[in-house]
Assembly symmetry: D2
Homo-oligomer: 358 residues x 4
């Protein structure tokens, strides 16, 4: 496996869903940065389950133990290691799946890859739980970015067929972002949010699940960063965002919808702003041209498939018996991963953006 990424800021994640602990090592943070760990904990609580009826009922207070890298609340240059001890594992829930791969989970390819030695408990290292260490890293990076005038926020752009309003890509501002960050169910259009919750609740009642899209914006990121051809902003954001379990699609700016436009419609005209900065009148490019930041808001959307764990009976196979079997998954699962994934997407963007600035 490969739980590392980053050039100047190397992130290494470790753990499995039911290991003794999960955690992250961050190597390359500059020394002397003040870290507010109560803000880290606040960020983690945004990802925490059990907040409301729409998320899994497991109780996971994912507050980290700081193992290294911090002296007197500041980075000291040594790698920062943060660990979350796992609790409340209930391994018995997972005994049935040792031999029967859950549809749409990594169980089957992981079995092949590991020769059957993979840790199946709770999805092992393929679990959505592995996004908790990513969020720890992101929460630290967000503070360093904030000190440099950069802000990141995301909202639920759709759940099933219900669409939230999208960001106005030339007019995302700090107050709008702050407002999103403080909400339990972050949407721009509250009425859309209500309908989304209904869809999720309906799926839950049906022992089923739904997918959705998260839209994120970053503002204040200066022009000129990105290393094309293969380490441009889009390349690296993609590398990390596709590391979030259940992500199946990604687009920047106008994305797939740009394919239906003509160039004359899609091209963003340059102009000098009143303060003498070069800006674009529209922002179909999503703040990135040729893999390099333009100084305009960075806009992207991430597609999450419906939660694969559903209560309904499904078709699968038995490895040992070499025959087709029926499978009913026990356990507690989010009927829609999108809600808890909002801070994860923000965290993924944060670790990538900070890397360029170091």
């Amino acid at each position: 496996m490969s739980f590392e990424f980053g050039r100047h800021l190397h992130i290494t994640i470790f753990g499995q869903s039911h290991a003794k602990a999960i955690g992250v090592v961050m190597d390359g943070l500059p020394a002397g940065e003040m870290i507010d760990f109560s803000a880290v904990e606040s960020f983690m609580s945004r990802r925490a389950p059990g907040k409301n009826v729409l998320t899994t009922e497991r109780n996971e207070p994912d507050f980290p133990v700081i193992l290294s890298g911090i002296c007197n609340d500041r980075t000291c240059g040594a790698p920062v290691c943060m660990m979350i001890e796992n609790q409340d594992p209930r391994p018995k829930d997972y005994v049935a799946i040792q031999d029967i791969p859950r549809p749409m989970h990594a169980d089957y390819p992981a079995y092949i890859k590991s020769g059957g030695y993979n840790d199946i408990r709770g999805g092992g290292p393929y679990s959505g739980r592995m996004t908790a260490p990513l969020c720890l890293a992101g929460a630290v990076c967000l503070q360093l970015l904030a000190n440099r005038g950069i802000k990141i926020a995301a909202h639920i752009a759709s759940v099933a067929d219900v669409q939230d309003q999208l960001f106005d890509p030339v007019a995302v501002d700090a107050s709008q972002m702050d407002s999103l960050l403080s909400r339990n169910f972050p949407v721009l259009n509250e009425k859309a949010g209500e309908e989304m919750r209904e869809r999720i609740q309906a799926a839950k009642l049906d022992q089923d699940s739904v997918g959705g899209v998260i839209e994120a914006a970053a503002i204040g990121f200066p022009a000129g960063y990105g290393d094309p051809m293969f380490d441009g902003l889009e390349n690296r954001l993609a590398q990390v965002l596709f590391g979030i379990p259940a992500v199946k699609g990604l687009e920047f700016g106008a994305g797939f919808s740009s394919t239906k436009m003509r160039g004359s419609e899609h091209n963003d005209p340059f102009y000098f702003s009143e303060t003498g900065e070069i800006r674009t009148r529209t922002n179909h490019h999503g703040g990135i041209l040729g893999g390099i930041s333009t100084g305009m808001p960075i806009i992207l959307r991430v597609a999450f498939k419906p939660t694969p764990s559903i209560g309904k009976e499904q078709d699968s196979v038995s490895f040992s018996r070499k025959e087709n079997v029926k499978l009913t998954i026990q356990g507690r699962h989010d009927p829609c991963v999108v809600l808890r994934a909002v801070p994860v997407v923000e965290a993924a963007i944060a670790v990538v953006l900070l890397d360029y600035l170091l």
Copy 2:
């Protein structure tokens, strides 16, 4: 910049649109592999412009000079370096843009990044021309993949609002792929292809451009490959595919449409095939679960924005005069990059898939 990627197979690209040469170094190919360079040239001719009225009229016979790494038509273990000497540059076409960034091109952020020292001629290293070395590498990799029973092919899934039929993701087969590889305008539905050509021709007449989507499939890739969390198949395919100029979106399997499905509809049931292999009855997962191959066809779609270079007058700025100006781009440009990008997408997939097998 960062023109390298790959773990076991390191690919390094060099050049600019109007440099003396462009090329690629491939380090990590196993020794003793027979390479058919006439097949490499055939592959390159699929990307070549000037084939018909829909592509730019420049004449670029992109056949490589083999500088190193090949002995008696076989790889010898040393890095394979292939070079294409640039011809027919017509640098005078680009004088105007030294001071005035072309909308939707990398000119502006590249200017910031390089302090004004970037090579602006033909887009310099940000040019679509840099996909030629990627294709050289891909053409070599495709041969090694073919020897291992793996085949890759792509088609134009849409241009503007015209949709081609999509692959049946459980029934992509070698003959269908071979048929696509031999076509000048690769589509599954010939009637859709005709309409697409009309859209492109219409845009050209309007001095405008259109975008589109390419869908690709890979078959024969065995289950169990991929290194999640950050070097899974999706992560690495994304890293390379977003290196192709004009790409703004990417999805695997059902992708964005999965977000509108319920889990019970989206989940692909496992079953034992008649030959005793574990397969899925549907393939919404696009051959990848948890970042690891499942042995089902790998299916992905890539969104290309409309060609930014259009003949119409556009708004831009003058760096030196610090004022808003009008810009009319001269030169010869593809009204739709999608056609020539089909082999580029195949090449990008090839270099990634082979890397996992080495």
Copy 3:
């Protein structure tokens, strides 16, 4: 800083001498490998201080807590994380050096590098203590190597002016290596060992220190591994071995002494052994030619400078007062690091050799 290395097997170390914990993440171990953690603990006890009067009197039982990556005593494919909680820190010993860099330590350049925010306690992340996580990783790798028929052992080749006998480079064998691994003071010539201990004891009484050389051998490593020009065996062994604090020199095979030989004397003639293997009659090349293993024993020697921490008064500077000052270092220190570094050298070799085989 950069606490990572490795290609297929990524090693990431974290911690500081007086952080809450130190540890290591190993990503890339194959799944299904049985790990005997009592053997890991035995290996760690070879590095432990406090064994005898020649080493520091601190008590550090460096037994790891396994945080992740192990299921039922086997690797499961997820990153293996092992942590050692720090004890017995006595931070007060180090207050004086916050402002006054200790000669020959990293204090001064680390102060410059970190802008004064480095963790000075016990040398922080520059401490010899950071070799404990390297030994954890090495102890795991040694087990996988042993399963593949590869053995590594080292001895103290010199302390001050006292020389041990060197390995006969064509005749290192498993029993000789086992004998070294079981000794408290591993030397080939017991009489030389006694003299070395006298030199160390004498230095200690003088509140001084001495340096020395460690020679290591690896047998059973097959021919054909190594990736020149820059990831050959010598390159990578060097990269890791120079990561051990106090190492200032490294040579392979005949090393520096080869510079005084003629080619006709130095060249190792090839021959077919009785069992039909290609071997060399002498082994001045130390098992590596062109960066690639030849199948002969790998032989290397590592030079360790005298322990920089000595009890004698020394000249230094005060950062704050910007003047020259006298410094007397308190605390407990090894008068010779060589003894405890023997397993560290073995561990460093183990992580590198295993990486090539994965």
Copy 4:
């Protein structure tokens, strides 16, 4: 193989001794740096053979063709690719060795590694000729370093048993270095140089060869650079220096001789210089502590084994006949590689030092 290295400045070398060309790609150079290619050619001529009777008589005017990355004599941000076309190959000289590995060359392990498909002509990619592209890269880096006040020079510290005077490690200065750079046979003590030439000439007459040591110094490199634990200055210099064929040993500062000193003798005392800088009164540490630069001159010594190609008959094996055979190597070879390796060592240091500053 692995012909790449570097973090911020990625160097990729390609070619074989008798390929169509050899060359180097440098990715990561800042844009806008003026490069004087006549200075590059002057540097290359220092490495060129055929200068005098002591080096091989082949004629190799290794002047590069600039393929990319340079606009108007300045770097433009795109990867710089430089190529040297091979001439005068005389492949017939090497027919005999296809089946019979030359002692002390990479032939045998390369044969195993590549399954017999390696390019044997002139040593293929294992040839000392591959240091020419390294010198091209180094010659460019030396110019950027010079602009930043950093100078590198080396001299022949020994040949066989003849020792040159060593640098006074606290008093290396620019004029001394310039003087070395301008000499055909760079030594500090001219009388020692004469004796060295006699040793080389004598070896040549005997159809034999000799080894030697090169000492290098870098001045002006600022304090605070280096990324321990595994990317410190010593680690990375070692990684690259061991990539030079024939290198078997490396030491920094007092190196192996430090092992015979006591700490009180070896420790370099800090003091404030008259200009208010922190310096050390002695420089046993060779300008590097804990892997980080101290601002003192960086001093290192590299051991080169005797040239393995000698005219005398030697013992080897026949792969095909599986029997011991006699081998007499034809062709023209340097009786001592040390002379031509002096600029190679400087180049290797240059690429590493510049990487830290980018």
